[in-house]
Amino acid sequence: MSRCLAERSIDHVLLERGEIAHTWRTERWDSLRLLTPNWQSRLPGFRYDGDDPDGYRTMPEVIDFLGDYAKAISAPVRTHTTVTSVRSDGAGYLVRTDRGEWRCRTVVLASGACNIARLPDFAVRAPPSITMLTAQSYRNPGQVADGGVLVVGASASGTQIAQELQRSGRQVTLSVGEHIRAPRVYRGKDLEWWMDAAGVLDERYDEVDDIRRARRVPSLQLAGTPDRTTLDLNSLVHLGVRLVGRLAGITEDGKAQFAGSLRNMCALSDLKMARLLDLIDEWARDNGLDTTVGPPDRPPPTHVEDNPPLGLDLASGAIRTIIWATGYRPDYSWLELPVLDRKGYVRHDGGVAEHPGMYLMGMQFLRRRKSALIDGAGDDARDLSAHLASYLG
């Protein structure tokens, strides 16, 4: 957005509570790599020029990448400046920070969708003997007591953490709700390559059937690893991870209750994956790729044991740690304007908030399916900076 505003000669400033890429520096586990390949992080006037386009950035590499971009575009970033409030001020906004005040006619909220780990209300009933972490506070197995671990949530974060902890010698139980299975590499190409090439990632918010639903879809069950292997529930079971249904509750005496819906959760996910792969096969055929890429195939169905456990006594000592990988919510505690819906999200139309002069970036399916990816920022910024410029007149 800064680059697009600069191109339009719109005077602006970027307020950053820490260093550039603060969240990538402080809220990610050690082994995490970006879920999208290096070539795919295309920003306006900037792209990957290394010798491993199909690799996945480590966290230090993501931090360097964003820092290099800030330098390349001379972004006017004020680091270590925490916004404490944003409110209406006549025709514009008053932005208070711990380093003084700003008055502006427009404001872009790029604080993200993943500020606070979202835990179910019943999490407080876990026995005190259990250590609780979230995908945000988890760093590495060294932080986790020996013994059993319950990982709650089977999207990208939950499955990666479950894999790492099981490999570290701990018995992992993985609680599986709605999730979307996806092969890392399909017909010899990265799944992200297919979705990019076939236009899936460019699908617009005003073209999908049900945008509210599209914005709630969980992240693809992907991992970025040097060997480009697929991480799915079958591979976790092969490692020894035990699958249970969605965590439905914890009783007063500390018993975890799992839903009996595991089989259907896996069936839904397998069917969704098959539809995506069908779409890719169709696109490959229509675009004459069938002779240049590998043959179509379908991963075997997710194997679910006959009678997955419906309960687990958390006070028995079998589980020492619970890791919540149950999603995030944004933190707008500093936003002193009546712009939030009842779920705590800013009401907006493709990133244009209802409040004149206010814009949103980096939210799930903001304007396109790729809006929450680094690669999605450019197109959204081009669109929204144009709107912002015409608002300024």
């Binding site: 249904g245 439905a248 209750q257 839903a259 009996g260 819906s261 259907n264 069936a267 069917l271």
Partner: protein, 185 residues
């Protein structure tokens, strides 16, 4: 819809989608209460009725009062004047999933020709008879088998059944715990 042939499964999807839109913007109108009344007759025989419910901000009354007799079969030395209560649970689950299949099929423009389900719940009576405290009272497992004839590919039919489970109230009730409060007036 792009398809030339419109499926007709007798489900008014437009009305359902309009209700979804309306209730998204009026969450209080989406608060419903479902009710039944039950009266003991004799032995294990009881007579239940269903008539009113609460929703869209007020009590709603039906034109008909539905009646249900429940009893236990003769092998339990009962008079078998109605289905057992656990069979009503099976009826509830099968009919909820089947209604869902019709609604999802309509929404996806899939013409149904025939939808038949059989449903079976496994139960070890050592639970309810107090023979073995390790055995639960309720079903140890439920299996639903569908035979569906429709103008659709097998994977689309599987997707109908999967989506119906995802959106089914009774499936949710049966697969998840629910707080139950019983008071004596």
């Amino acid at each position: 819809m792009a398809s030339e042939v419109q499926a007709n499964n007798g489900v008014n999807v437009e009305a359902l989608l309009a209700a979804k839109e309306a209730l998204s913007n009026a969450p209080e109108a989406a608060q419903f209460k479902w009710r039944a009344a039950c009266e003991w007759k004799d032995g294990t025989h009881s007579h239940s009725t269903v008539e009113s419910f609460y929703g869209l901000g007020q009590d709603q009354h039906r034109k008909t009062t539905f009646a249900f007799d429940a009893d236990h079969p003769e092998v339990f030395a009962s008079l078998d004047k109605g289905a057992t209560p656990v069979e009503y649970v099976l009826v509830g689950l099968a009919s909820c999933l089947t209604a869902g299949i019709a609604a999802v099929a309509q929404n996806r423009n899939i013409q149904l020709k025939s939808v038949k389900a059989t449903i079976e719940g496994d139960m070890d009576l050592a639970g309810i008879l107090g023979i073995d405290s390790d055995v639960r009272n309720g079903f140890s497992g439920i299996t639903v088998k569908y035979n569906i004839d429709a103008d659709a590919k097998p994977e689309d039919i599987e997707a109908l059944v999967a989506q119906s489970q995802k959106r089914s109230a009774v499936y949710d009730i049966v697969t998840n715990p629910t707080n139950v409060t019983v008071v004596v007036n």
